[in-house]
């Protein structure tokens, strides 16, 4: 009971901060738009994959990119909390470390959820105005996409929190997070099809859980996927569970 209130407290804090810092949402929406319009638009005139325009092809990838970047960097707030004694105020409270971790994950995922919905709505608008073709965003595909994106978010927020709980400086956090993000994103098929990959690359891509997020989302939104969507969902769900488990453990061992 007390733990639930604690989770609510931590969520409340993140949510208040998020709505007060509107620039955070602004940037997290502008960045993917730039990718979609500039990269997608620029290459779109010369490249097409699997019979769809490149801009259409990368739209699911860009959604995933936006979500994994802002989710993992959410972990930096743990480092900042540790710099002042706010972290101690939370750690000394009579709630379990698991509740603390869950509260943080729920808080970070809410931020991402707002971002996801905004990007889906923007996608819908671009599609209706003909800027983005061949993307089917309707009520059902929207909800299923949300499920995919949220599982990815939970996994990546947890990963960010794991890193943050072990780091003392924001610079250190940034270094480790970027080190992980680049392969996760660039070797995921977000920007290219994962069929006919060079043989040295395909094992790496197939081991990357984000590959399955992108594949599933692409399947839902533009009907192109390599794997069964159920498999995609199972992989990303398992990845989320593993990161949650490690995260709870990381929080239990966190010292201030």
């Amino acid at each position: 009971m007390n733990n639930l209130k604690g989770i609510y407290a931590l969520w409340y804090r993140e949510f208040k901060v998020f709505i007060r810092e509107k620039s955070r949402l602004g940037f997290s929406v502008i960045n993917p738009l730039v990718w979609l319009l500039v990269v997608g638009g620029g290459l779109g005139s010369v490249v097409s994959f699997d019979g769809v325009n490149y801009r259409t092809f990368i739209y699911p990838g860009i959604l995933i990119q936006s979500v994994i970047f802002s989710s993992i960097f959410f972990g930096v707030y743990i480092v900042l909390d540790k710099k002042i004694d706010f972290m101690k105020e939370v750690l000394v409270a009579p709630i379990s470390r698991t509740a603390m971790f869950v509260g943080k994950v729920v808080g970070g995922s809410t931020d991402a959820l707002i971002e996801i919905v905004t990007l889906l709505v923007i996608g819908f608008i671009l599609e209706s105005t003909g800027i983005l073709t061949g993307v089917s965003i309707n009520f059902v595909s929207g909800i299923v996409s949300l499920g995919f994106l949220l599982s990815t978010t939970v996994a990546m927020v947890s990963l960010g929190l794991i890193i943050g709980s072990q780091m003392e400086s924001t610079e250190g956090f940034q270094l480790v997070a970027s080190f992980l993000l680049f392969p996760l994103f660039f070797l995921s098929g977000a920007l290219f099809p994962i069929t006919n990959l060079p043989s040295w690359l395909s094992p790496v891509v197939f081991c990357n859980p984000i590959t399955y997020s992108v594949d599933g989302l692409r399947g839902i939104l533009i009907g192109i996927s390599k794997f069964n969507i159920g498999l995609d969902f199972a992989v990303i769900g398992t990845f989320a569970l593993i990161t949650i488990l490690i995260g709870t453990f990381a929080f239990k061992s966190m010292e201030v």
Binding site: A9, V17, I84
Partner: protein, 322 residues
Amino acid sequence: MNVIDTRNLTKKYKEVTAVDDLTLQIKEGEIFGLLGPNGAGKTTTLLMLTTLRKPTSGTATINNFDIVRQPDKVRKSIGIVFQDPSSDEVLTGYENLKLHRWLYGMPGDLAERRIKEVLELVDLTKRKNDLVKKYSGGMRRRLEIARGLMHHPKVLFLDEPTLGLDPQARGHIWGYIKKLAQEEKITIVITTHYMDEADNLCGRLAIIDEGKIIVSGSPGELKKKFGGDIVRLKAKNLNIGALKKLNYVNKVEKRDDEVSLTVKDTNEHLQEILMLAGKVESVEVHSPTLDDVFIHYTGRTIREGAPEGGWAQKAMAFKTKR
């Protein structure tokens, strides 16, 4: 009943032993002071007692729960006001208190009543809906004290609570702390660099240095232990040798052309001292204060290197946080 009972509590960092074999008992409803120069190990002691840092060896019980083996139970019995800023400045004062309410599982009506009460105490009622970012250093400090006092735990730890506060605010807070101890039987452990605060509040205190207790007792006992009054003489050519020979003079300290003596039964002996001293420019006699006791035991004054204003500076330094 001992609400706090530490046994050989020790914390070693790489090079330093911050807390060294600390054994200490504190009873229910006591206000206990921990005094000591910077780096003496006060904060480290509180962090161990509040389960935030693990002792290297030894342990303690709080409210009969072991801080190493039952940290969850200990956390249900305690509250703490940290030395460094610990509120979220993107939230308002009131929101910070609400957060605390949920973290401690306080029921709604009680929480609202307490929030009102503590906000009034620290005189922030009018500013409760402002972001903490917009508070002055002292206001932020007051908010954190209010938060710490809100949930009336069994044991309350206060780490230099009134650092940087104006005298009026300190007076109010002292009153409330005393009330908590007397009426609610809350046990309070307070660290401070203000000797008047220790004198005013604490039933008992311990002076620690380099992680060890040097002396402990009530403020009255400690002053008595000091062994007499302090007589300060200012003179050009003092016969220090002769003064040192007097058996009722305990301690002679010379600084420039000033001498400070610790004298037993001053009333009887002052005349003789003055005769021996020769021509003096000024004489000052006072009974020992906690300041004198502190300097006597730690060999330095508390003001040397005391982190005056350090708290507020820290608060400012993190303004740019989010």
